[in-house]
Amino acid sequence: MSAIPEGILYSKEHEWVRVEHGVCTVGITDYAQSKLGDVVVVDLPKVGARLEYMKPACSIESFKAVSDVYSPLSGTVVEVNPEVSKDPGVVNRDPYGKGWLFKLKPERLEEEVKLLLKPEEYRRLIEGLSDA
């Protein structure tokens, strides 16, 4: 069963976002990494890039396929995870921790947060899909 930690929010495209002190950390969910298989190349966004709610922010590539990562919030990228470029497998091993992808400063936090899924809602979403 896929891990779906509390305390973070989820998108329909299988990203998670943690909101802390005005900075939001984004990654992909355990369900997403298990479907992708070995993550071998990650194309992170540039620091300073402007991202839009649920538009492609960057891409993740596994042996199987290339997948777009959508930004769960609109905002500006303030940091990207250097670990991920060195060791893309960290996204598989620790998708909610060391495998975070980028941090952004949100523009429309209050409004967009309402559109994201709570852990229980995300669990229902993936239970409706094919097996993780």
């Binding site: 298989g37 070995d38 071998v40 190349v41 891409s59 042996f63 199987k64 290339v66």
Partner: protein
């Protein structure tokens, strides 16, 4: 989708894919882990989905000599040969391995993707050529596995008691109700084992019990790509001739075979070559390779080599493009430098 007789062993422990109508494991743990297990220790693959035809009768050898580019009649009992089956235009219908089991009995293992075509073709050739042969496909009564890796022979001995060390490469021996050959599609030491489903299942479970890594089609593809082995229906099809695959050494022109006349008039204008990138990127079939401002090629297959950490791929290049040429591969709007090479990509 159809499942192999070994499916119950791994039903709840694999990520599956639809492979030409077969529900096959793509990976069990991860493609990279399975790939490296085969390169360093041992991995075991379910390859029961491949087509297997037993060819029997006094004219079995003559029939196969006519059907195939190689010369199965020249094989001694217990020897194997890699061969192509061509159409009248010299195009490759399939490739496969012929095993000589006895004077009048052979086993021909060919690809899952061409099963229908080969079934019809083999029957048609027997009828048209007036060869009275028995063609038998044992379907789900039979299973096949491949055990590959540097420690494969020793774990095989531990598990079954069978010592294959004194059996030469491309030779096979019967063992109880099984047929065991020193062969494979990974470039490593190893065996392929075929026989009644229950017998193969027991060996499969025994090997897993001894810690052999279960491996799926994902790692089977990355392993064969590192060796530069082409894959039917992906790298070649009936529009491809053996010269374009640099496969003339597998053709025996001392005997009559289907496609021989067409081949005598063919000169290849393109050749299947390898491409390796400078950077760590994943190459895929369909990507465009720019060799020069007006020469472009397309990859037929590709991946990221787990051993080399570089993108590797196969593709047909005009004969004017030399090995060693520097080229660039286009991937989603960006270009990456690469070199044209003669496979294998890794040394074995």
């Amino acid at each position: 989708m159809v499942r192999t007789p070994l499916y119950p062993v791994y039903a709840d422990r694999a990520r599956f894919i639809d492979f030409y109508g077969w529900e096959m494991p793509l990976w069990f743990s991860s493609i990279e882990r399975e790939h490296m297990a085969v390169r360093r220790n041992a991995g075991v693959f379910d390859i029961s989905h491949m087509k297997r035809t037993y060819v029997r009768g006094k004219r079995a050898a003559d029939y196969l000599d006519y059907l195939c580019g190689a010369k199965p009649s020249a094989l001694k009992k217990g020897r194997l040969a890699y061969t192509h089956v061509l159409n009248e235009r010299g195009g490759i219908i399939d490739d496969g391995i012929v095993f000589r089991l006895a004077e009048d009995e052979f086993l021909f293992v060919t690809n899952a993707c061409t099963t229908q075509r080969m079934s019809s073709w083999m029957t048609e050739v027997a009828v048209r050529g007036g060869f009275e042969v028995e063609l038998e496909d044992r379907g789900g009564r039979e299973a096949m596995i491949a055990l590959q890796g540097p420690t494969s022979l020793s774990v095989l001995k531990d598990t079954t008691g069978l010592d294959m060390v004194s059996v030469r490469k491309f030779e096979c021996v019967p063992y109880s109700r099984l047929l065991v050959s020193r062969s494979g599609y990974t470039g490593e030491e190893g065996v392929e084992i075929v026989g009644p489903s229950q017998d193969v299942l027991e060996v499969f479970e025994g090997l897993l019990g001894k810690g052999v890594e279960p491996c799926g089609l994902g790692s089977r593809d990355t392993l064969r790509l590192e060796m530069g082995y082409p894959l039917a229906c992906v790298d070649f099809n009936e529009e491809t001739n053996p010269y374009e695959m640099d496969a003339q050494r597998f053709l025996d022109f001392t005997k009559k075979f289907i496609g021989r006349e067409a081949l005598e008039n063919l000169k290849p204008t393109r050749l299947l070559k390898g491409v390796i990138t400078d950077d760590r990127v994943v190459l895929r079939g369909g990507y465009t390779v720019e060799c020069s401002p007006d020469v472009r090629a397309k990859l037929t297959s590709g991946t990221l080599s787990p051993v080399l950490g570089k993108g590797i791929g196969l593709g047909f290049f005009p004969t004017s493009v030399e090995t060693g040429s520097r080229v660039s591969v286009e991937i989603r709007g960006k270009t990456y430098s690469a070199t044209v090479v003669r496979p294998p990509f890794i040394k074995k």
